[in-house]
Amino acid sequence: MSVTTKGPLPAEPYDVTVVGAGVVGSAIARELAGHHRLRVALVEASGDVGDGTSKANTAILHTGFDAVPGSLEARLVREGSRLLAAYAAESGIPVEPVGALLIAWDEEQLAALPGLLKKAERNGYDEARIIGADEVRAREPHLGEGALGALDVPGESIICPWTTTLAYATQAVREGVDLHLNCTVEKVGSSPPGGSECHELTTPRGVVRTRYLINAAGLHADALDRRVLGRGAFTVTPRRGQLIVFDKLARDLVSHILLPVPTALGKGVLVAPTVYGNVLLGPTAEELDDRRATGTTGEGLAGLRAKGRRILPALLDEEVTAVYAGLRAATEHDDYQIHGSPEERYITVGGIRSTGLTASMAIAEYVVGLLAEAAGPDLDLTVAGNLDPVSMPNLGEAFLRPYQRADLIATDSAYGSIVCHCERVTRGEIRDALISTVPPGSLDGLRRRTRARGGRCQGFYCGAAVRELFDGWGESGAAR
């Protein structure tokens, strides 16, 4: 098992290489890891897994009730949702089944609810129902004035997106997948020159050779397609979503995910609790050209606050903990763009727009199915072995955290020593993350593994102490 962050890459060719260690690429690598005879690599441009869109979303485990019926996305979201819920329970990924309400604020939205209910049924989801204004108010007493009714979707849940990607990657690496970080694929050729034996991926760290190639490059999937195939079936237009994270003291204001009713005028914003005990407001939807524009804007944040004030007025009086933005890999198509090119021994996994976290495990199954078809007897993908289960550190408020566990502290006092006070992260958890299978490459990576420095003070109290631990473990060589 190995994770590399620098230095030369192995010369021997891989059987399969996945480009992009977001939630989708990591899930595919994990799925392939069950085929123990294959040599598999996961190659990522960033210094960490899950550092692209997968770290910056609204963290909802969708039912797929509102997908386009009959689409591939509808199917994979539905299946993925079940698969991930089961996997989360087994691996300790925090999930809270809070349910969602699509609130109708005007007559047009109210009139749209029956159609949405039908759509849910056509998507195989039959637990949704329409509820009246009184029931809405009873279930969400802090809601702003004027809610006329809602579609109740009890199956929607909130999940920890960081732990999900990390669990996939951890399990893949433990089962023998090589994870190469800081490894941007810049060029793709084939070897021997003119021949068709292997893809040659040129990266700043050298060349990766691989017989089969899977493109899970998220926002850059179209560019990689053009590099490999000389053509592409789609173009990615990043659609930015800005979000505001409110303080934990706001958590009691809301019990469900409050979804907007989609209308002709656009998607609107949602208010949702997070598994860390905060409340999210967002996202915006802005079509951009720049695939790196993950910054927030004054207008974006002001617009969110105006909409949030209507939905949950008291929320706006609470302190803001964080703001961030993510880019959805939208394309000109209304569905995922997953295509196999058997001739080129290549599979594209693109256009995974706003449901990729939920669908990740089903996408992985589907992609490995396509790969088996494309490769035939050339790759033995018929029987998968069992994967050793992983047990991820719990970041969720609905489950006991180490600082609350006398048993754990009795075995190791480091779990009783709180370093990050706002998020109650202990020295023991930080140490564990720094020496874990896939250790963080930065303080932000450490935050996504522990929550350290992610709270309301953003480091006023603990920033320097956390950095000291990070640097110290790095030097001792224990982590890297």
Binding site: G295, G298, T321, G416, Q458
Partner: protein
């Protein structure tokens, strides 16, 4: 499993306010007095302020903190470091976590002295990217003074109040060039000498007034800040190149524990509402220091610790808890007033006010239900982020059954 214990007085927070209260209470025979401090060392904020000017003798922050700790220990108080109060188990019972395990401590009197923090960049809704190199003064001072970490090469300091100048000196100590101090206000909120010393010093640090940080730039590491001067629409913009930015001031009480315990907060200070004896609306619970009104000089916080001791002793001896206190509220542009509860029998203490806008010779008017209780012209200028103290001589005229008392400009 939690160990259960009882003490007479439990103090949450071992900063100047909490330590001073514990020392005074232990010395006066108030029974078992215990301070919980979540950091590895007690002393609070002064612990990482390596500049002088603390206390009556102007010693450095760490020296001042040490002296407070010694006083508390010398008087017989227990000071337990590395122990966090994490939540409530009853009106006067707290749950704690420390390396020795979990405890549930029940007290006869509880003093919240949890201090204050600066609002970070996120809470100020400053747009832009999320690069490294973004600090608050608190983090900067710890990084420089305690851990001696590398900070950067060129910094912008946001704010021009006393704490901003403390950030400036921490940056200089760390060998960081300071490109500018930037404030939304028209003038610095420190004495003329201090402002001039920075501006005219070698190297000199320019002060940019009437400007806000409109965007942080750079990926990975900060590369610059975009400033907007004047008002939004016709505002001129410019970019200051820097790899470090320090957001200073904009203090907010660390009120989480108080709120989780249902302690009534004041809308202006956002800390627990207290009367002149630092009693909150929850019987047996007192609150002092920067956690009540952010932020006061360390010496003032310690002074409150000394003053709360008398009221705590009274409570332990069975003096009743006042009920039905009258709130004191402010009108814009005033931001808050403290104390902000008036209970019968509490000492007619001094009040402190903060304003959001600079005021010149303002007239303060105190009224209740439209009836004027007090009027005072304040001579000179009153700046934002500086305390304005005024007399409580009018407290006797308050109708205990009346509406809120209002402090506004006349």
């Amino acid at each position: 499993m939690r160990r259960q214990r009882s003490v007479d007085v439990l103090v949450v927070g071992g900063g100047p306010a909490g330590l001073a209260a514990a020392a005074r209470l232990a010395a006066s025979g108030a029974g078992t007095v215990e301070v919980l401090e979540r950091e590895a060392r007690a002393g609070g904020v002064p612990h990482h302020c390596h500049h002088g000017g603390f206390g009556r003798w102007g010693v450095t922050g760490p020296q001042y903190a040490e002296r407070l700790v010694e006083d508390a220990l010398g008087a017989g108080a227990a000071v337990r470091t590395g122990v966090s109060a994490t939540g409530w188990a009853g009106p006067l019972s707290l749950d704690t976590t420390g390396p020795h395990g979990l405890e549930r401590i029940t007290a006869r009197a509880l003093i919240l002295a949890t201090g204050a923090r600066e609002r970070p960049r996120t809470a100020r809704l400053v747009p832009g990217s999320r690069p490294a190199g973004v600090f608050t003064t608190g983090e900067l001072q710890q990084a420089v003074n305690i851990y001696r970490q590398e900070i950067g090469t060129r910094a912008v300091v946001v704010g021009a109040e006393p704490v901003s100048y403390a950030a400036l000196s921490a940056l200089r100590r760390a060998g960081v060039e300071v490109a500018a101090l930037v404030t939304e206000e028209k003038r610095p909120q420190v004495g003329r000498c201090r402002a001039a010393a920075a501006r005219l010093g070698v190297p000199s640090v320019p002060l940019v007034t009437g400007a806000v940080v409109a965007e942080l730039m750079g990926r990975g590491r900060l590369s610059g800040v975009r400033l907007r001067r004047g008002d939004g629409r016709d505002g001129r913009e410019c970019v200051l190149a820097c790899d470090t930015v320090v957001f200073t001031g904009d203090f907010v009480p660390d009120h989480e524990l108080a709120r989780r315990g249902g302690v009534l907060l004041d809308a202006g200070t956002r800390g627990p509402a207290v009367d002149g004896s630092f009693r909150t609306a929850s019987p047996g619970v007192f609150a002092v220091g920067s956690g009540v009104h952010a932020v006061v000089p360390a010496r003032v916080a310690a002074g409150e610790g000394v003053r709360v001791a008398r009221a705590v002793r009274g409570h332990l001896e069975g003096v009743g808890w006042p009920c039905g206190a009258v709130p004191v509220v402010v009108g814009a542009p005033l931001r808050w007033v403290a104390p902000n509860l008036l209970s019968p029998g509490a000492p007619g203490s001094r009040f402190v006010l903060r304003t959001a806008k600079a005021l010149v010779c303002p007239v303060l008017v105190v009224s209740q239900d439209g009836r004027c209780l007090y009027r005072q012209r304040v001579l000179g200028k009153v700046l934002p982020n500086r305390g304005l103290y005024f007399s409580g001589s009018w407290v006797g005229k308050v109708d205990a059954g009346g509406g809120p008392v209002r402090v506004a400009l006349g």
